[in-house]
Symmetry: D3
Subunit: 167 residues, 6 copies
């Protein structure tokens, strides 16, 4: 087990940004997800609003894309990247559709870049901030909402190549 | 159900920042939590590193506090607040300690402010970003980590007063 | 004429942030507008998209609100303010409706704060960035769009009280 | 008309950052302009101050260059770019010089980059923020100033090559 | 000696933002300074440029004021404050004028706020960034420049009242 | 002497971001340092805290790395760069160890990038902000601390190649 190393910790035990100077620029992509569970009544309010021109999910999508671009400002040891692709999808999930039965919004994010290091953190940050935005806009009616399942689904490119979450 | 309104949506269905101009400045506090589940071997690497002077959890704590201050830049309809208190605690959880048995890091955040609106989003954003920072620093050894249980535990102050999550 | 002074220039001719330390906190509001002129065909594409769930104007509204919160980071001598109200409205204007006959999007912004200094810059910045966002999202089909009429409509509060643009 | 598509809207009608992953890095340049109209007396104050070491236009130039670098943080679907060139020029225009006769400051911006997507938004954002900075520094003497003529003059590079505004 | 405590470290040895929730809002001011030493020939280039309309020191002054507003984003445990006053002065110092004989630019900064905590960090950050800006603009001709004497000269307000550096 | 030019000043005397569009991407590195002098008793408090899990120097290291990534937002004419390497080391210096005898923290920073322009400003900004962070966390016990010796030690890469500070 101890052959594995935390790459952000140097030989003295100090944190550092990992040196990627020698890595080649390759095309990379990452897909992540997140879920915010809520009362079915809260979901109904979101879905109703969605019929109108301004809606919670449009706001969450914009927030997720913008957060992807702020990732390296938020995560201390994360490399800045000029992302070339960012997409945030938000789908309502009715009570009973998921295995745990909970109603809520399911967020899927896709980020891409041509760079020396992967874009997983951008996809995960976008998913987190999209969920937080839903929380913010609905908290007056439902303080108990919970964010869960924030995780990587897939990444490709770079030396380690393709990784996919097992079902 | 429909008597409840999403306060961020106006009478035309458009998003807006809620107008809090008429609200009084009161002292407010919010406590939130989050959990990042990981392989027990990953947790061991973090705990080992923690014995040294630079460690993953110190970095996550700093990231969480700094993220609390960026909340209104990330969450579109969130009011800017001059927070007066921010604390991020990160505790290792060994496999078997939680009900679901998963190993990982448990994050608890506390934010305070004297202001016209609550500080829940700051506490939740700090918890999310602390978890994302742990992900970033350990992803080279464990891509499958999952962020969950990001939720409000307690908030106090303002017109609605005390709210606590039911156990 | 020379009795009037530029308040951001000190007695030595240097720029400075105006000292508002001695000013009282009062409730303030500002209303601004902007217009982005475009080809009627471009406007039609926006209006069509608007019927769908994700649309250019929703994105512009969110961008405008978020920009209002970044105003003091963008405008060098502008004081930071914790805005308590921000609203950005975007209305399509068909060819022939305006005096100059041009089609486009008319943006109206309203910002509020309780503070020592006015919130005009936040309203004007929100209007500018909402228009720039429309430009960005439509530039692939219409590079010739023009932003105009970015101006204050009304401000109230503070020592100078109410000001309204003459019709 | 409907053959043209808004590239920021996907097949479901959702906003997205356009995917430029497959585009080649080419050298790109964009030139934009803006104008802030004001009372001739306000212009005189600026020009007088300009003779001294600290002046409104120096501040506006710096603000414009810095804003160019913040463009992708402000405009939701705009790609981050490492700009390699940014210049903001501010020229006083006396009453009667323009066709509409208005006095004010004319801003011209030039931005360059080697990248996968164009730099028009950076040039336009720099022009807007330079004008807003002039507004901020002169608003105490002239609230009625208006920003207009914010538009692209020229762009070059990339697949679509040279575009110039018709006179 | 050990009766003194580092207030940013809690009883468990963890960093935290100090809780200032219970502190009163009082008017506060801080004055700081910094010096960037350089070759006399470099100073001559700055002073010559200063005669023209755009100059290094105007840019450094603007950068210093803007940095004061970013202080809490840069310094992890620093409280956000809505500063009400910021001034950055830059004075050329000829070789032989200082005790150590070095030529360079002397920066003095003054920041003010009405708040629960002091504004020393804003004044010190403004001084540092003004010096760094001079370095950036002159580094092509003088890489050996050194920033020194970045220190607080005076602070007033709050529970601890007036503090002044001994001559 | 006057053959040398300040590259940030154009032929009209205006500031500008230097045009690096035509420069090749090369691998570049910069090493900088800084020192914050303090009372020996303050240093003792830092070193004691360092034994515990959360400490001043861990916070300063994180702040320095994050500041390196914000450099082009802080320094007006500085080009944005996607840094590929950032490391901040903080070493306690006991009274008597330095030539001037002062106790304090010595900061060394290393930044790397593959880009069209050098990374000196990132290394210097990281050193400055690490020192400012130490000041912030210790100021309650020692307001008289001084930041000095902020300077470049070495840079390599680019057209001008290797530069090293003479001992």
């Amino acid at each position: 087990m101890t052959e594995q190393q935390l790459t952000h910790i140097d030989e003295h035990g100090d944190v550092r940004m990992v040196d990627v100077s020698q890595k080649a620029d390759t095309e990379r992509v990452a897909v992540a997800e997140g879920f915010i569970a809520m009362n079915p009544a809260t979901l109904a309010l979101i879905v109703e609003g969605k019929a109108a021109k301004g809606d919670v999910l449009a706001c969450a999508r914009v927030a997720g894309v913008m957060a992807a671009k702020q990732t390296s400002s938020l995560i201390p040891m994360c490399h800045p990247l000029n992302i070339t692709k960012a997409k945030v999808e938000c789908a309502p999930v009715e009570a009973g559709e998921r295995e745990d039965g909970r109603a809520g919004i399911h967020v899927t994010t896709t980020c891409g870049v041509t760079g020396k290091t992967g874009i997983e953190m951008e996809a995960l940050t976008a998913a987190s901030v999209a969920c937080l935005t839903v929380y913010d806009m609905c908290k007056a009616v439902d303080r108990g909402m919970e964010i869960m399942d924030v995780r990587l689904l897939k990444k490709d490119g770079g030396k380690t190549g393709l990784w996919e979450r097992e079902a």
